[in-house]
Symmetry: D2
């Protein structure tokens, strides 16, 4: 016997279309869209009159339970995915980060273990490659076959995760061969190291120096270089957490040349600025992340980049650390502040209010940047990323009339502060649905631990992008 | 009693989505999309197994029954829309072109008269503005209210249709005020005049001089100027029949600056080159149009422009003249060759074969450039331009297995040659459906004269484009 | 018997070199440069110890005794060249401006008559071409043969001096054929007309609207178009009185493409800003000129343009009108304010203080932009524009220790205000020498009316620029 | 008693000026320029009637007696400077290249020892910095004080000379502090390493793979990065042996932004192309150098770069190895071919014929790129680089009527082949004069070993460039 749900009277928005229709869900899949649909007794019925129905959010950049900088990120797969659900996100993609020398398979297994049975929504994995050698290259086909078709490379974190251009070229070529996509953290690690050493030598240790040690020029340079190397390798490229106009211009220039370069930005770069580092004393540590917040003038550029298609998605880079006990590890030395902010539960709400309602994104663009973009880039479409017959019934149903506010008191992150505290919200998700289950209502979690499933992602096929 | 049609087993492609679903149509509207839909006795059922279903094509640039250069274009609204139907196009937008001094309302009435009761598919109008004065400006609100929300301006045809920059600024400002969109024919009319006078003085009268008198630089310059004037006026801009990289780069640069500039190209610029002018003697007159065919190197640039979103649609600029008796008027003087080619019946087929099948466009991009783009730009969405609940059941259903060839013998244009004669087609429209009626099957017209309705188009609202 | 002068102990600066040497002059020519030169009794000896010797200034853009906008410019060839001499300028190039219908030869003759016997320094002519027709084109070779090898075209002043792009192409081609150089006043006259009509209709008549009616976009657009037309014609181009970054970027882009585009700016654009229009009531009329003063941010760009070689010279566009009685004609209608400012006597001083002493120009660059650049562009080199054996002994000898101030009380212009009133001067010309005659000492005129000679300029040969 | 020379009847060309004058030289200095100069009995008189007199050439990039890749370059300071003299070059600047760990002072001393008493013309030194550490940084002020005010950094030769971006930033900052100029070898060493490893793994060992392992993209990328790092450090930058449009565009873009970036190219990049690698079997090894020869299309771009001032000088990177015995070390492994070509004796001749006579450079530009540019950039002006009173009498006097041909038989290099064999020469140096001594006549050496003196170069002062 099938499990049916009927969602009536809503208006549906996909990346391209806007239409009023009822949605019939069976066994977690959308099976019918139509006017005046009916259902049998015993089936769940949701009335979405006056509401806006979007594909469930996909956050393609999270770091749950990540050992990093001498501690472990505060949200694990349980708290992180619960917060995601409450905030309208029904799929997350976390980064497997192997230790140097560790077999990739072992790292993947460890990540499966962290996640299995704990997640409230579906999840998938990227893998980071902090080194390149024969063993790593030999393991890549198996990794891709397991549904991990994107490789993250770091051009920053010199001496730790950073690889050099020779290694990056090797990975780009291997990714192309195995139909995977290379994602880069684009900051010139040498420039950062240079600046951090100087500041250390000069006794400049406060968190306000973190941004000075991570200038936008370093991100622009790395973006330029990564794009050139990808062109040279004939490989597609994805740039994560793009934060500034310097990098955006490189991405746009590549698009003008016809190169396949994709990029994501994050809510923090769209909404917050480096001014936060200067007026908050050590509390600025809350926003210490890499890349850092930028000059406010970048924000309009990034919004325009989303609107005009140079940026295809917004992810959070959620990597939460408590201010007490964790961020405080960097008192007296900003280089010891664990990098990252919470956000997985805030992203969809922030983009709805500050994007759609503020006139910076159409509702279709909102559907694209919260869900469809990442689904297509990372091989999860059409199961995820749209509201269409045959797709998973992953939905976020916005009540545009309900107002709220971002606060540490109300988001479900397992961390002691909110990066967006006090931001007014103009419209809230009434229902968040994961494969036909209502996992959150107006911000309250109604799902269950373990509901989430692992998603094997498809390969990246440049031909599908006509490249 | 309702008129129902069920289209079963097809795969549907919209500008963003791809999914398998049956389509239920009632009274010309799509009312349901779903798996395993059923219908009652007496309803039409089409089996689309193995077929690809797209939104019906929209050709936003036709000139039917146009008095031009001392003759009248060969296809009228009857033959033109019948050819459109046979070729997968279910909506056309024709240009009302008033004479100087004529009231706009009179010109619009004349165009209505030409079309009324004759068309096989739905139709709408743009209006051209060959002069600007107090009367013209005063009439614009009424024109927009009548559903004609786009104004065409000519930067070429000096002494005839061409307006100057002062006038263009006036129209841009008026269009912005009245929520209409300005379309420009972007060629520097002074440059063309200069060259035509020179060639005339030098006795260079063959059709091969037409292209030399219409250099790509003239189009690039005019595009640059129109874009700058639009920016200065704070108005959106649409560029019609963009033919060359010189103009495309201006459009792309504007997008990088965040300006709202939209543009269409045509199949002839994507597929044919100026070499045709050089090897065919006077037969080259068949391809005399403005802008002319360009150097072949432009073609890849234009395809990339469609793929990457710098160009949003493909229209035909269909303006057919018989070679015998019409094109021949220009024997001995290329300036007297009536400008234009037939194409309304070929566009969708050409783009399917040379775009989708050749790997230059995804199926979603194909849906966008043949239909969704124009629908959104010209205020016809969501009635037209997509396959969604509530939309008109305007569909083109491709049988990818059927092969064909473009030929004057098979297209339904009322003209004695084909501009694309001999082009192999890899996939053909099995069914073309206009508001639930099958108007063509495998290229044979099955519709009826007068089925087509006039579409009042909505205003252009820049806020919907987040501008 | 020869007339000898020995200038001892100075330091000489040319466009490329800096060296200490004595200068021996015979019959107005430099015949020897060397250490420890000696001369005979009766010869003039100037001691330039501690002083800097530059080639005499060339102001390639003056309008003396010009009938314009219903009046005549206040400085004629007598007062204008006397002021030039006092201010370090030993050559001026004035514009012959024929009336429409007037034979060019007649206009040239009229200009010769205005100048003959009156000038204190040497002079040459450009010719403006306010219309293009067979007669005008036929006269050009004779004009060039008479030493007038540059043709000025106006893209502004619609309905008066403005020509269209067809005409501009004709002139570019004719200039190329006859080895002359086309100079353009680059503003889009249609845009200006559009704005002036609007302001008139809105009752905006104050001088502060002059700048709003002459936006930088209009200059950038015209520069772009002129450069493209010149490229199309294969002709070199010179842009006069370039005032803004919008136009400068077009010039620089052309240089990057390898095109031969030369340009001059003026002291007013380097030193004054549009703020003057807003804070002075009708007194702002003093600075009403076309192009107008620009936003202050342009100034650094223009200085950099001079330093980096994108701009080759600085001229004044001297066209002086008394505030009383002349500028006042535009009270109540800014369009009737005679356009122009005085400056021929200030240019060299302003560039020395604000260029050399302020660290924006090297002494060699100063020599280039006040003299060598114009001499080479306009066919007056090597007689003019350098300090070398065989050149005319036209020199401006700066005393870097002497300080002064620009003021209507001290400049020798025949006009009732100074555009640069109060500008402090750090260094002044001790001696100004024209063909071996001291025509000014520390700002006092010591020359004589009629000393100046007409200079027949050489043709413009693009091959000398390796184009 | 002074040593006098009079050069009569020649035409003199400097970077800015062209004039006819006699030149009087006393004790190696130019003391007088003038018409009809006379001299006493016993003085040397050269008749330069019909000849062109230029400043003696400066080759700012030589590697004499350089231990490199397991051998030593074939020309030492004796043979190299003798060839220079015969070829019109009167100053060379060689690179001191310390071993890692070696004190800079020791390396400088070693270079002095190689040169002292051996050179036919004057010489100066740059220093290369293959590593950065506290000792190196501490030694820099002394190096600058000794007249070595330019530091060479390698972005290529990974594992040997290459430094990373952190080190480059350190050197840029140190150079700025000590008023020195950083020169970079701009190739991305990681890319080269990547490609060389691949080719080695694939058994691709012939010299034709050298160019494939050194793609133009790698040079463009490194130029972009070096320019960005210099901007970040607020330091000027010089790029050596720029070979391709990819890098040239970066330099030009920097100039447009107002950044102080200087660059040299070499005759081989202006005149030879990568085709030589493909058609000569192992003989291609003769042209193995880094950067390699490029696609022929780059040549016009580089000539335009010189003409338009984006490139300021032409040096040779002379580093000669005999084909027999030295180049042959790389048979079977292109990575073992000693990199470099001879050229110090050919440069001035090649630029005269292929630049001046071919219409690509004016005679003034020729003076600039063979001499004045390097003199000013590297602190040797005005002693070197011009023909002016007070300057050293270093001159190359061209007889434009004499024809010749480049050949290993006639150049004076101590090496068994010529890189430009067979190039026709249209004009030859009749006399080459170093500080008043004729060191070569029509290619025959007339100087003496040990005549050359060490030049202490001045510091680099960005303020002199108005930066």
């Amino acid at each position: 016997m099938t499990n049916k749900m009927l969602i009536k009277n809503g208006t549906i928005f996909t990346a391209a279309d806007s239409f009023s229709a009822d949605i019939l869900v069976e066994d977690g899949k959308i099976v019918r869209l139509g006017l005046g649909l009916e259902t049998g007794s015993g089936d769940t019925v949701l009335d979405a009159a006056g509401m806006e129905i979007y594909p469930g959010g996909i956050d393609a950049h999270t770091h749950f339970a990540l050992p990093f900088m001498g501690t472990v990120s505060a949200d694990d797969f349980e708290t992180g995915t619960r917060a995601a659900a409450c905030g309208g996100t029904t799929t997350i993609v976390d980064f497997v980060i192997p230790a140097k020398g560790q077999k990739l398979a072992a790292a993947v297994a460890a990540w499966h273990e962290k996640a299995a049975g704990k997640t409230a929504v579906d999840y998938a994995f990227h893998i980071a490659l902090p080194e390149v050698n024969a063993q790593v290259l030999a393991e890549l086909p198996a990794v891709v076959a397991d549904g991990i078709s994107s490789f993250k490379c770091f051009m920053a974190y010199k001496g730790a995760l950073m690889i050099d251009d020779d290694q990056l070229l090797q990975i780009l070529r291997a990714a192309k061969e195995h139909s995977a996509l290379v994602s880069v953290h684009a900051e010139n690690g040498d420039m950062l190291t240079h600046l951090m050493k100087r500041f250390a030598a000069e006794g400049k240790t406060g968190p306000e120096y973190h941004v000075l040690a991570h200038p936008a020029e370093a991100e622009g340079e790395a973006a330029h270089r990564a794009i050139l190397l990808a062109a040279f390798a004939g490989a597609p490229l994805h740039i994560v957490h793009l934060s500034c106009d310097e990098a955006l211009r490189e991405v746009a220039a590549a698009k003008l040349r016809g190169q396949l370069v994709l990029a994501e930005t994050c809510p923090q770069y769209l909404l917050l600025s480096e001014d936060l580092y200067r007026k908050n004393g050590f509390e600025a540590a809350k926003w210490v992340m890499s890349p850092p917040l930028r000059a406010a003038a970048n924000q309009d550029k990034l919004w325009a980049g989303l609107r005009d298609g140079f940026l295809q998605s917004v992810a959070t880079d959620h990597c939460s650390f408590n201010f007490k006990g964790q961020k405080e590890m960097g008192k007296g030395d900003f280089m010891k502040i664990p990098n990252g902010i919470p956000g997985v539960g805030d992203r969809v709400n922030l983009l709805y209010t500050c994007g759609v309602r503020a006139g910076r994104l159409t509702r279709n663009q909102f559907a694209a940047v919260i869900a469809a973009g990442a689904a297509k880039i990372f091989g999860m479409y059409p199961e995820k990323g749209t509201v269409a017959v045959g797709s998973d019934a992953d939905l976020v149903i916005f009540d545009p009339a309900r107002k709220g506010e971002v606060s540490v008191r109300t988001t479900r992150h397992n961390v002691d502060y909110s990066a967006f505290e006090g931001q007014r919200l103009d419209g809230l998700p009434a229902f968040v649905i994961s494969r036909g289950k209502v996992v959150a209502k107006y911000g309250e979690f109604t799902g269950e631990k373990g509901h989430g499933r692992y998603l094997k992602r498809k390969k990246f096929d440049a031909a599908e992008w006509c490249h």
